[in-house]
């Protein structure tokens, strides 16, 4: 019988090497299934959390939902793809050296930060005093602009493309039948590191205090000497950098990147937005928690209930949260004094 390619087990780098469980003779065990689902949930949840942070920070500061945020994720993914392929082309060889990954990540983050800064200055800043509805519609316009310009042949084109493999994707260790590969560890690790950096930034630095001040009350913060414009720009840039990291990790994980106007990107953005709402929109720790919650719900629902309704669980949770506890898990219900 034909020997099918063993994709991830060519190099025996497993630390706790267990013999390959011959699943042909029977199914996987319940524990295996649970652990596999847990692993998938954590990896996808960390991606959702990274993207949700962008939504939540912008909402906290400016009180508007930045609909163009998911397009920054797409930008990050595509810039990573083009950079990685270009670097490999220049450096030569079949496999990417270990330094290529971090370089691509930094390039993507800087590029997306710069683009987001430009968008903020051009599209959102002139509307600071305008009603919220105007800015919302502008955000939708920016989103459409980014999608359709991205599809031009001068930029990313209209067809899906795949990124060169940046990591060896071997199994690092196994628990039963569940492989934890280098991609998983790097993915979750990067997300966690970035979230720790953000947490430090927002809660333990002067700039972070300025961001929180602007989110409580913009006018009074300005009266207290906080450079509001700069803080807002910085928030956008920080959110965009996280989104770019999310896009890079997506590219790393899923290899085939869809074209910018594909509806799957909108769905990703929506799920991250749901994560932000579930955690409490405007709350940074809430976004991280929300991302994990959405990841767990989606994966466990698909594994134990029905995989056809994978997306339905996420949006169902949104409805329940909005009905039962609109301020989210970590948000505080604020009573507006009229």
């Amino acid at each position: 019988m034909h020997e099918y390619p063993r994709y991830s087990r060519t190099r025996e780098t497993r630390v706790f090497a267990k013999p390959l469980y011959s699943w042909n003779k029977g199914g996987t065990s319940r524990v295996d299934q649970f652990l596999q689902t847990l692993k998938d949930a954590v990896t996808i949840g960390s991606l959702y959390a990274l993207i949700a942070l962008g939504y939540t920070m912008v909402y906290g500061i400016l009180k508007f939902i930045n609909f163009a945020h998911s397009d920054v994720v797409v930008l990050g993914a595509w810039i990573s793809l083009l950079t990685a392929n270009k670097v490999l082309q220049l450096a030569g060889g079949e496999h990417a050296a270990p330094w290529v990954g971090p370089v691509v990540l930094v390039v993507a983050m800087l590029a997306c930060g710069a683009i987001s800064f430009t968008i903020e200055r051009l599209a959102y800043k002139p509307l600071r005093k305008a009603p919220r509805l105007n800015v919302l519609i502008t955000a939708i316009g920016v989103s459409l602009f980014l999608q359709n310009t991205g599809q031009l042949s001068a930029f990313f084109g209209t067809s899906p493309r795949s990124i060169v493999p940046l990591l060896g994707d071997q199994a690092v260790f196994s628990i039963g039948l569940v492989d934890v590969s280098t991609v998983d560890i790097v993915g979750v690790g990067t997300a966690v590191v970035l979230m720790i950096v953000l947490e430090w930034l927002v809660f333990h630095t002067k700039l972070g205090r300025a961001m929180r001040a602007v989110s409580y009350d913009t006018r009074n913060a300005a009266l207290m000497g906080v450079p509001v414009d700069r803080v807002i720009s910085f928030t956008f840039v920080a959110g965009a950098m996280l989104a770019a990291a999310g896009g890079f990790l997506w590219a790393l994980r899923f290899v085939v990147i869809k074209q910018p106007a594909d509806t799957s990107w909108t769905l990703l953005g929506l799920k991250a937005f749901v994560a932000a709402v579930v955690g409490g929109i405007g709350n940074v720790r809430g976004a991280m928690l929300g991302g994990l919650a959405i990841g767990l719900l989606e994966m466990f629902g698909a594994a134990y209930l029905s995989s056809s309704y994978k997306d339905v669980y996420v949006f169902g949770l949104l409805i329940i949260v909005l009905l039962v506890r609109p301020s989210g898990l970590l948000g505080k219900a604020i009573v507006e004094k009229v």
């Binding site: 199914g27 299934q33 085939v256 074209q259």
Partner: protein, 431 residues
Amino acid sequence: MMNSTLLETRETHGGRRTLLGRLAIGLFASLGLGAATLAGMGCDNKDAAKNPAKSASETTPASGGTKLAAESAPGDMILIGHYGSLTGSKATFGKSTDNGIKLAVEEINAAGGVSVAGGPKKKIKLISQDTEGKADQAGTVVTRLITQDKVVALLGEVASGITLAAAPVAQQFGVPMITPSSTNPEVTQKGDMIFRVCFIDPFQGLACAKFVRNDLKFTKVALLVDQASPYSVGLKQEFVKGFTGLGGKIVSEQAYNEGDSDFNAQLARIRESAPEAIFIPGYYTEVSNIAIQARKLGMNLPLVGGDGWDSEDLAKNAGKAIEGCFYSNHYAPDQPTKEITEFVTKYKKNYGGTPDGLAALGYDAANILFDSMTRAKSLKGKDLRDAIAATKGYKAVTGNITIDADRNAVKAAVIVEMKNGVPVYKATVNP
């Protein structure tokens, strides 16, 4: 929270207009625009008014709805339209089909053109439009081709979901449409103007089932279906019917939506059920991701699919993960028949690269259309339609094509295997 900008007060707007005043201005402006558009369309309306009067007396009322059956365009060229996914996740389908059709058009024009009912030879002009791989674009695109570009016949589409959206439009306007590769049986049931030159899913599903059961000798198969696509759902149903009829067992059925990138949950469940193969009747972009992720989960078993896999991007994106997998197709480029060898050589010379099944079917559909034009009494919808329906034993690249009473083609299917990133002929299944 949000100030209502719809009811701006005088202070913010600066003018002295009331809401009612502004509504009135808006109403007059839109009426003015509407009048201008109607005036612009007035020229077209005059031509259309002449044609129905002529064609109504000649055609029978059985051809349905309004008739804008166009005659050949002035300038002595016959206009045909091709609508396909030239961009998007199914882009290789549309581009390959377009290349196949263009090749056929160039050949026929080099020979002088098509002579209709013994008349003078007229050259063919092809107008291609992009559906972006979306069903909701199909109706608009086809309407534009018929009403503005005035094509006499339509070719397209590959994805059955998109063809199903466009077929009622062609039927309503009385323009014959030949789909080169849509395999869902409902497509030709939309009306008597719709034809196809490929086999249908009931046959394809059975062919896959026979191959898996008899050639690969498997009894336990899992399914991974694209629940958003009529092609995928239909093909799965036919496969299940055939496979269980031959004594096989479906151990798991999971679903995804077109556009999904993460299949770990579905594949983990499939792994739990321990199948011998997975049947994935989807389109190539998702299949490449599925193959990669399945291998990562340690599932080293054959994947089997349908003609939705047929694309050079499949191996390009999936790499080694798709080695040794099988799918049913309309032809294999390395089959040793005269027509295939000639076609492959011509295609390579003009476009580089080996033609896939879609290109071959596009070529065949265009040639059958030209052949029918030669046999037709005129280029009007009904006459051209009758000529297409009378196609018998046409020696095409993808086999001998006879259009049956249901307007489908009766042909064999081939099973190809992915070897070194290229589909290689494995077996033939005859109807």
